[in-house]
Symmetry: C2
């Protein structure tokens, strides 16, 4: 999707593997990156601290957009609603659906575009990957294309003509991202994936399960401390 | 734009003439309306109280989405930045530009879509009118079409197939909206337009100037109390 390296990029930074590797990739390409994280009342708020650590590693600004006032609007998802349990094990269509926050990516991308306009940045980058497509419609290439078209219509005259929405890993699996991150020197120990609210990765929720499998498939040593690891139990 | 009357509509309600008349129109058509207002750190926060009065008149729920945490991201607009003055008099391309909050409508519409999904509503309605087109690209029909296409892509499987984004006044001038509101019994005295931060309409800012002209053109008595009225001074 990248035609040219953007001069200045707002990277949506969840503190996880994928968005951290996006930030390292853009910085490696010479773009001036700003990390933008969202507080949307998620139970795994620890991820915000991890995004801050990554910004420090990169010497980049870290901005936290406070959307916590929206949490009562965005009910019904395991990520924000304490009455909905976070599912364990490999994601299925049914369990993964419970982790969908209504229209979350559109809201986050819209705020990122606003931040880009305010800061005179010419790109927004996002860590969606191919494993997200099946359940999350707002992680699909067709959505990104529609979002970019909408953004250009809605900000005609206010946004750089060369503005790009970048999703460099949209065609990659999570294991490929681990491999890319390894080659870029990403400090994986300072990334956070777990959807549960603990201080240590649980090792059993869907996202921990994905994280463990990605390191294993990539043949990269996983430096993460897990409470319980399904992989460890299986050994 | 309306094919069928929606069963349940989230109306973006600024407390002003336009969105109030949209809410009355939808309620009159038999749709169950929820009024959704935004606190985005605007200096004219009085409008939120006025939106609440309208919800009371309609017996409708009033939800305020708290985006005030975003105010430091959305700098540079006269509406949110205390260092930028609110321009007086008729809008020109230059003065009106200073009232543009980056990507504001996209952010508000995205949150409204999230609220609609959470509440199982089948429409979002918005009070944009033809006078907004020239300066605000995110008030143009081409933007609404792009936004609707993006919303359908991004929420495939989570949003009603019959979902509509309604902008019933997109082809009307503000004076036409006053006429429509008059016929629907809109209590104009409980609507708020002024962009300055006072307790009474200033009568001189661009939005007050538009409001005064709209009542005058529609031949409807303006019940608004103004500190100073350009029209009154001219008389």
């Amino acid at each position: 999707m990248t035609q040219t390296t953007p001069r200045k990029t707002v990277v949506i930074a969840s503190g996880g593997l994928d968005s951290t590797t996006v930030a390292y990739l853009l910085a490696d390409q010479g773009s001036e990156v700003t990390l933008l994280s969202f507080d949307y009342g998620q139970r795994h708020r620890t991820e915000l601290e991890y995004a801050g650590r990554i910004a420090q590693h990169l010497g980049a600004p870290h901005v936290i957009a406070d959307l916590s006032g929206l949490s009562r609007l965005l009910t019904g998802s395991a990520l924000t609603d304490p009455t909905v349990p976070v599912p364990d094990g490999h994601y299925t269509a049914v369990t993964m659906r419970s982790t969908v926050v209504p229209n979350r990516n559109t809201i986050m991308l819209s705020v990122a575009v606003a931040a880009a306009i305010s800061r005179n940045a010419d790109a927004v980058a996002f860590g969606a990957h191919s494993g997200d497509h099946a359940i999350y419609p707002d992680c699909r290439p067709s959505f990104f294309d529609a979002f970019t078209a909408m953004t250009r219509e809605g900000n005609d005259g206010f946004l750089a003509d060369c503005f790009q929405l970048l999703a460099p890993f949209i065609g990659l699996a999570k294991a490929d991202i681990v491999e890319t991150g390894q080659s870029l020197g990403v400090p994986f120990v300072d990334t956070w994936s777990c959807y549960k609210g603990g201080r240590v990765h649980c090792g059993t929720c869907g996202t921990c399960t994905e994280r463990i499998a990605a390191f294993s498939l990539a043949g990269v040593t996983d430096p993460t401390d897990y409470v319980t690891s399904v992989a460890a139990v299986a050994r």
